[in-house]
Amino acid sequence: MLEADGLMKRYGKCTVVENVSLSLNPGEGVALLGENGSGKSTLLKMLAGILEPDAGEVKIDGLHGKQAKEKIAYVPQDIVLFEELTVTENLYAWSSLRGKENTDRAEYLIRELQMESFCKKRIDRLSGGQRRRVNLAAALMGNYSYMMLDEPLAGIDEQGSKCVAKLLKDEKDKGTAMIITEHNPTILLPLMDRTLRFDGGHLV
């Protein structure tokens, strides 16, 4: 179980996230909705251990810090890939950085996200939507039981979005819990168990 208690983050004098507490059960899906700049991404980063909160704490299955982080897959809003490597090489590299190289998992994700046609291409030669799919796949390499996805469908076409939705449903069915931020929740919202609205740094 993921438990966040009293999370707060300030940038200078601006409080972006203020006293947020939430919990996430194994296998549960939560959609985090809100306007641009409402603090969703900041909250997600704190939950994923990417950003240190100014106050509050996050526990995952009773664990803190490094051990907790290893249980989380985080899909950043930015494209965070090795631009000079191919899709396959990226997946191998990221799986190694997150644990052990897992070629079977890489092949599975390439198949599920329909990346076969461009898996030998370098990242910097892919379209925006293709890069988004690789970005998601790279985060899903490794062992994790919680996923934080920051706008995973941004820039992906309808066909690609359906692939992503199917993959996330499969993951959820396997017991992976996830929190998703999305501006256009029509495709992913049906997969989620509950919805949280975030506004002005607060859950409302």
């Binding site: 990417i50 240190e52 490094k66 965070v80 000079e84 990221w94 950085l97 997150r98």
Partner: protein, 404 residues
């Protein structure tokens, strides 16, 4: 994934920034060409080398003392050197420690007699590591002088023996020899003027040129490490920071980066060495001596680049710092390291600078190998490599890694 795979991926990434890597590897070509076409001729017509040395002459033979005095006086009068006579080796060595002399020549007792008897006469040179170029200049100059002078004396002695066999008296022989030695010294001392050079040592052009070529090698190697610096900075502030990568998993990536950076720098050497060889007739056999120096230089500069890249969040900041640091270091090595009276800390930094060691290795190994100096410089580079790697590893793990 094995380390080799990481290295292969990292090489692809380094060379994947095609223009940057190509620039890093090929940029030395126009630099060497410009050096060869424009700078080298200027240096080759350069003036004599300025040397700040000490001399401890324990040999009381008249001939050697006269010869040394005349050579030293001549160089001092020409403004090529300041050479201080010292009573013993300890005094000379303390002058080196204090930075008042770059090099000490010790002529042991009986040196001249040994030389005359055909035995091996050994003179000892002591020098501070930061003045290795001066040491080379001074040692080569003195050895050249002694060698030419000794050959002349031998010819005079043979002539005297022949004259003695044909009835020349002892007194006549002594007068003949003294006149001949005086002539020998006079002609020798003016040989520089005969061929249009200044001073006895005749070291100006070629030695400056060798030194400049060595600086060029080391500088190009350092500047070739800039893609390593930049990519490391981008990784640490971007790719590796924005995903949740455990710090413990970064070790292979870190060492792969150092090795791939080393390969990039060695590519630069692979381009430069044949050009330098064509330019200055570097002996092919020197390649064997240069190669370990090249590898260790490349490793050290690569580790330094990773360290600098890990310290900054912004790639451009890292490059600017690298540029200023490198430029300042090379200027220091080139123009300041032989200046006495530097503040103690600056003098110490010069002495242990990997930049100086690298320049010294190239000037030494490519032209006139002195094993002792080579080993010292290699040790300095090795220590710098270990230090940069340890500091770099610490910074690499800490910088940009999400909190734990």
């Amino acid at each position: 994934m094995k380390l080799l795979s990481f290295i292969w991926y990292d090489i692809k990434r380094l060379f994947g920034h095609g223009k940057t890597a190509v620039l890093a590897v090929l940029a030395p070509i126009p630099v060497v060409l410009m050096f060869g076409l424009f700078l080298a001729p200027v240096l080759a017509d350069g003036k004599g080398a300025f040397i700040n040395g000490a001399l401890c002459n324990d040999d009381d033979s008249l001939m050697l003392t006269m010869m040394m005095d005349m050579v030293v006086d001549y160089e001092v009068k020409k403004g090529n050197a300041v050479i201080t006579s010292v009573p013993d080796v300890e005094t000379g060595r303390s002058m080196i420690e204090d930075g008042r002399a770059a090099v000490l020549l010790h002529v042991p007792e009986g040196t001249y007699q040994k030389a005359m008897n055909g035995e091996k006469a050994v003179m000892k040179f002591y020098y501070a590591p930061s003045h290795a170029f001066d040491a080379l200049t001074f040692q080569s100059g003195i050895e050249s002088s002694i060698s030419v002078f000794g050959q002349g004396i031998r010819v005079i002695n043979v002539a005297g023996d022949t004259a003695g066999e044909n009835g020349m008296s002892e007194a006549e022989f002594t007068r003949f020899r003294n006149d001949a030695v005086t002539d020998l010294i006079g002609v020798y001392l003016h040989r520089g003027e005969i061929i249009g050079k200044k001073g006895v040592f005749l070291l100006g052009g070629d030695y400056h040129l060798r030194y400049a070529l060595a600086i060029l090698f080391a500088a190009c190697a350092f500047f070739a490490s800039f893609p390593v610096m930049y990519l490391t900075c981008l990784d640490k502030s971007g790719v590796l920071a924005k995903r949740s990568v455990p710090a413990g998993k970064m070790a292979r990536w870190f060492f792969a980066r150092i090795i791939s950076g080393t390969i990039l720098i060695l590519c630069t050497f692979a381009v430069m060495y044949p050009m330098a060889r064509a330019l200055r007739q570097v002996k092919l056999s020197s390649a064997l001596a240069v190669l370990p120096g090249m590898i260790l230089t490349a490793l050290t500069f690569s580790a330094l680049a990773v360290l600098i890249g890990s310290l900054f969040r912004n790639g451009q900041s890292a490059l600017w710092i690298g540029l200023y640091f490198g430029a300042a270091s090379f200027v220091g090595v080139t123009f300041l390291s032989d200046k006495a009276g530097l503040p103690g800390i600056v003098s110490l930094l010069m002495r242990i600078s990997p930049f100086r060691a690298s320049v010294s290795i190239f000037s030494n190994a490519m032209f006139n190998l002195m094993i002792e100096r080579y080993a010292q410089d290699m040790l300095v580079l090795l220590a710098a490599f270990v230090l940069f790697t340890a500091a770099g590893f610490f910074a690499y793990r800490k910088r940009g890694v999400p909190y734990e």
